[in-house]
Point group: C2
Chain length 390, copies 2
């Protein structure tokens, strides 16, 4: 049983909705990639990606998921036997560690309670204790716990020490201000299906001069993910291997939309939607997963203990058409994650909160219907443009 018409609302932290104009671009006829026509697109994409990554470096476009770019970050900068420090406060922190261990890299772990941001002083202490640590690997936005880690503060620790800072910015680049060059991030990774408003299939990675330098002595094997080869190709406005042509059409269009809106406005928009969502969740008497350092990409909430959060999530998907994320591992069945990054707008946030209200009510809870929506509207109304004066 389900609502009819069952419209689909993709409000999970990736894949995110794709604007119709971008979808139409990706549906344009596929052309050959070794042509002046395609190279002209790549040339513009190259310029635009640097602006979004806020770097002078080339941002490489890989046909892979974000995980592929995380692996590329490691195999292009490290050697077996190196020691790195991983911030482990969620599923994606764990992923950094798993990739490192796959390649025989020794991992020093800074464990962080799920739902909390890392304390930069814990990183500083670890680096002081183990001066052999070559790199710090961290998420900017830890999607699994909806936490925003303090990257600027971490960069202030790594940069003067000559330790590489590798940041998984998969749900942060294009969401919140993350100026790669100014802060001193050495490797910054992102993916197409997040704030870039594209279908999955592309990942992006940029390396600082220090990271490229480290790559010269990095001895891990790499072929498809050989970033030096990709950079050489990109400087000729092409890619080393066959690019995902139609996704790059879409990337060209989506980057144009982001830059036309302006990065400052894009960040403010994500902040507004995040505040509206948190206000709605709190007004419903639900507890935030990451109240201290909430991600502007996704808001986590603890579902009431008397119900199965996983069943609620499935109900929202199957009966109401609203796709939010559930919790993983220790959060399984206890958490919903409501996304507000990329092509998600104010009315999507209201829809998401209404769906949570309706779902909780249908699961038999006493819910003040409309109260979450009302709280979010209060945030939104303050940001609305003034009516035109005649």
């Amino acid at each position: 049983m389900k609502l009819s018409p069952l419209k689909r609302y993709l409000l999970a932290p990736g894949p995110t909705p794709v604007p119709p104009e971008v979808l139409l671009r990706t549906a344009s006829p596929t052309i050959h990639h070794r042509t002046p026509e395609f190279e002209a697109i790549v040339k513009q994409v190259r310029v635009r990606l640097k602006q979004v990554f806020q770097t002078e470096q080339d941002v490489l476009v890989l046909a892979c998921s974000g995980t592929g770019a995380m692996e590329a970050a490691i195999v292009n900068t490290c050697s077996a036997g190196d020691t790195v420090l991983c911030v482990n406060g969620g599923k994606f922190g764990e992923r950094w560690m798993k990739i490192c261990r796959t390649y025989g890299i020794e991992v020093e772990e800074v464990r962080v309670e799920w739902g909390s941001p890392v304390d930069p002083s814990a990183i500083e202490t670890a680096l002081r204790r183990r001066p052999e640590i070559k790199a710090v690997l961290v998420q900017a936005s830890e999607t699994s716990t909806t936490v925003l880690h303090p990257i600027e503060a971490i960069a202030a620790i790594t940069r003067p020490r000559g330790v590489l800072l590798m940041v998984d910015g998969i749900t942060a680049v294009g969401v919140t201000d993350m100026p790669m060059d100014r802060w001193g991030i050495d490797v910054l990774v992102s993916g197409s299906q997040k704030a870039f408003m594209l279908p999955p299939g592309l990942a992006f990675i940029a390396l600082s001069e220090r990271a490229w330098e480290a790559g010269k002595s990095a001895r891990l094997p790499r072929f498809y993910f050989d970033l030096k080869r990709e950079r050489d190709s990109l400087q000729k406005n092409t890619t080393a291997y066959t690019p995902a042509v139609n996704l790059i059409y879409g990337l060209h269009a989506a980057l144009g939309m982001i830059l036309e809106e302006g990065l400052a406005q894009v960040f403010a928009r994500h902040e507004r939607l995040a505040r509206a969502t948190r206000a709605g969740v709190t007004a419903l008497g639900l507890e935030l997963v990451a109240p201290r350092a909430p991600s502007p990409a996704t808001t986590g909430l603890f579902t009431p203990p008397q119900l199965d959060g996983g069943a609620l999530q499935k109900y929202l998907r199957n009966a109401l058409g609203v796709e939010v994320a559930g919790g993983q591992d220790q959060f399984k069945g206890k958490v919903l994650r409501l996304a507000h990054l990329g092509y998600i707008g104010d009315f999507d946030v209201l829809t998401c909160l209404a769906a949570v209200e309706l779902g909780l009510a249908r699961f038999g809870l006493e819910v003040p219907l409309g109260r979450g929506v009302a709280a979010a509207e209060t945030i939104i109304v303050a940001a609305l443009p003034a009516p035109a004066r005649d």
Copy 2:
């Protein structure tokens, strides 16, 4: 200045949103219409349209707007000098009259206050007073005033008298139960861009045996709108002139969706969304335009007298991306019309009410933000399916 991303919500009473699966069908390669492949589609469309119109008669598919089908209704059944009775309670009642007068038909008018349904006894009185009246022309749902006229009661008056009943069902067929044959409607007209969930460009018309019979002596000139010729063609699974091929692909798909859902469910869905909308409007302290006989297709509300309703409507469109209709003529600047027909779902209704709340607040009114949404949620939650039991 506008929200970003400015998503577009088409919540006016036509054109209405088109489901993605229907849009994709209309984007299939155009084929020639004099082919077995296309005729196979027309054959299925023919069967499905009869089901939706609830008639044994053929439902003709014209490449024109609904107005074209209204004109076809008249020129195929009347002659210059005939007298007809038009129910005039809004813009579309006026349109019946204008078309009739264009063709030299004498019009007897039953005037109805905007916002009220016609009283069937007024029709009965007129027919008794002027037995030469050949036909009664009326809207089922008068879109301009959001009123539902009592077609079943009118048919009970026309049928035994041998007076033709011509019904503009443009925002009624597929919205509310309108069994053509059972009630005794003689001409029933509709259009693609309403409950049929298609882009504009097609109109539909069905004639009873009595109407076909009347057509034999109807002497108005007709060529493109010669329905006899269309019926002869349709019985060979084709059309007299070039059909709108890609819209007919879409029609095939959309009719499939409607019949898969089931007519009873489709009508119940429209009724639910209409009730939710009216509950929301009323909870905001706004007055309904048609409280006595509200259309299940669209809800009209009077905007607060201290503001310009036209400016509010434009603000919803331009700043919030929400397209609702304003008022026309005597309702201009005083009315908003919120549609809930076709591919409009529960969360669209909530979005529409939230947009009205936000807009009113931004125009400086004291608005209980969220209260309209809450009232609508109360209606919706009662209709939600039960969660699955493990």
